[in-house]
Symmetry: C2
Subunit: 362 residues, 2 copies
Amino acid sequence: MKSQRIHNFNAGPAALPLEVLKEVQENFLNFSGSGMSITEISHRSKWFEEVIHDAVTRTRRLLNLDDRFHVLFIQGGASLQFCLIPMNFLKDNESADYINTGTWSAKAIKEAKILGKAVRVAASSEDENFSYIPDHISFDKNAVYCHITSNNTIKGTQWAQFPDTGTVPLIADMSSDIFSRRFDAAPFGLIYAGAQKNVGPAGVCMVIVRKDMLEKVPGNLPSMLKYSTYAESNSLYNTPPCFAIYVIQLVLKWLEETVGGLEKMETANREKAKLLYDVLDGGEFYRGTSKPGSRSLMNVTFRLPSEELEALFVKEALENDLGGLKGHRSVGGCRASIYNATSMDAVGGLVDFMRAFEKKHG
Amino acid sequence: MKSQRIHNFNAGPAALPLEVLKEVQENFLNFSGSGMSITEISHRSKWFEEVIHDAVTRTRRLLNLDDRFHVLFIQGGASLQFCLIPMNFLKDNESADYINTGTWSAKAIKEAKILGKAVRVAASSEDENFSYIPDHISFDKNAVYCHITSNNTIKGTQWAQFPDTGTVPLIADMSSDIFSRRFDAAPFGLIYAGAQKNVGPAGVCMVIVRKDMLEKVPGNLPSMLKYSTYAESNSLYNTPPCFAIYVIQLVLKWLEETVGGLEKMETANREKAKLLYDVLDGGEFYRGTSKPGSRSLMNVTFRLPSEELEALFVKEALENDLGGLKGHRSVGGCRASIYNATSMDAVGGLVDFMRAFEKKHG
């Protein structure tokens, strides 16, 4: 039982900025002078309209999106997007490229195949246990889109630069690194991100879709499975997940007004990651699992000399108020997820603990 | 700007019990000694496992569900269920019955038809503007299921007793009256309820499905669109809407431990509704829009002598801290939604205001 808050290295749901949590808490019984909780107001009220409008506006500003893009909020997580993308964009006589960089890419491929869609795996890093991001990829110029996973939470890899697919629109699962760094949105036909890592609580997926992509949406899809339904209604076709969108709005406000924008956030994220990778590279005790050129700035994955030491590491770290350091159940080992809301202070505390643990057990 | 909380008659998202909101607020920075917010803990942590287990257990107890039923939490609202139901249960050579009692029934029918499914509208109350619940219905004995909307928020009608469909499983959208009264779940193949009226915040739909129904689920559906995926993983196939499920758990705890169970809740709901319908029946100024035998215990819909008076009524009510009384934008008029969390005190305040308003303007 912790009486104080701990440093949170969870992979997702993950740390949120303390000032955001405090603002939610403070206003929880009476939102914006409505006399009601944010969980009790109508999604069609002026109060919620301001929330969703502000969240969209800040997203546009932070990611430099021009008016060719819609910003949508859809329920079901990134996992629902795995099927919505081929259902909306890929006709039976067409083909799409997918790059397989691990568990989440593989799930996106699997769901497209369940639908009987033509999927070409243009590249894969499965040969070396997904420890790197593929390079020198030969893309299909006739593909309807090319799907990538921008950051791989389980394997600790990340695209340092996005691939050049020419005129083929990129589609990216950015669940674990959206708003963590600057990038040019122009080549993307669609970007999606489950909120629960870098931008909010679980229960909503942000979808940024280029308007020309919507022309592909078939008419015989149910309303809730069509991107056009959300685009035409500003994500208010039915009741949206109001609370989750509200927290996203506050996180984006924090990102702009407290952090000072995406460039500053990226600088901080690079510094945090460097602190940890320097420990991994500084000796033999900790061993990073992803290749240096493909390393994730968000999820630092590593092994210790034995599984017993790994279990002890996770246990003793928690005793020192450093939580969530266990690797994903599918791969084992250790993982420090250092999303936007994980402070330099938290990372510094982890580095100190890692050095002390190595001294004791190395 | 209200400095105090108001009485909330919103149709949804709607009032939540104040003691639930206070508990969320109090524990928001450190949930259950985790040192993290409920929005920051892993959905696979022991803390969240306890939350979802308790929510399911209380649902089973409150609704008297035996182990033939799964209790699931699915994102996308009731609107997503409109397409999931025919996708999961209705094969191309089969037919289903639907009863059309207004907007939400009509949407359920529309989505099934988009999928090209064979839908038979077994009865409709469209002939009298959906002001009543159809009776003497001739059901198709070969239907795969019969779909009803148990309570109609917009038209203010409710099934007083569920129809006898013999061996054909009933499927009911109970978004606006689940947990408001006792009923026998045995004839139901599936029950669904968007949480944001009687049981929690927006962002999750409760689905109660009878296990034999899952045998109908086709193998070629994407994972996130199959009920079996949620049933096999205890709603944890991917990250669920943790916060919304947590609030549901607290509301169900309130329902069992503070209210004292469903029978007491039903008694209170009948008393609240009677207070309002007595005002409507006691004179000519207010006019109920639904027929007496079909009246909803949850949404009391009524008209005043003119639209100007209706607008004034809504405005002056809000000045008296009675909010959310405007009728649905598609029908106009006034509506008092009196879900579980709307107290007798709130209804009493509304009745007093209605009498005073009539005296002044009648």
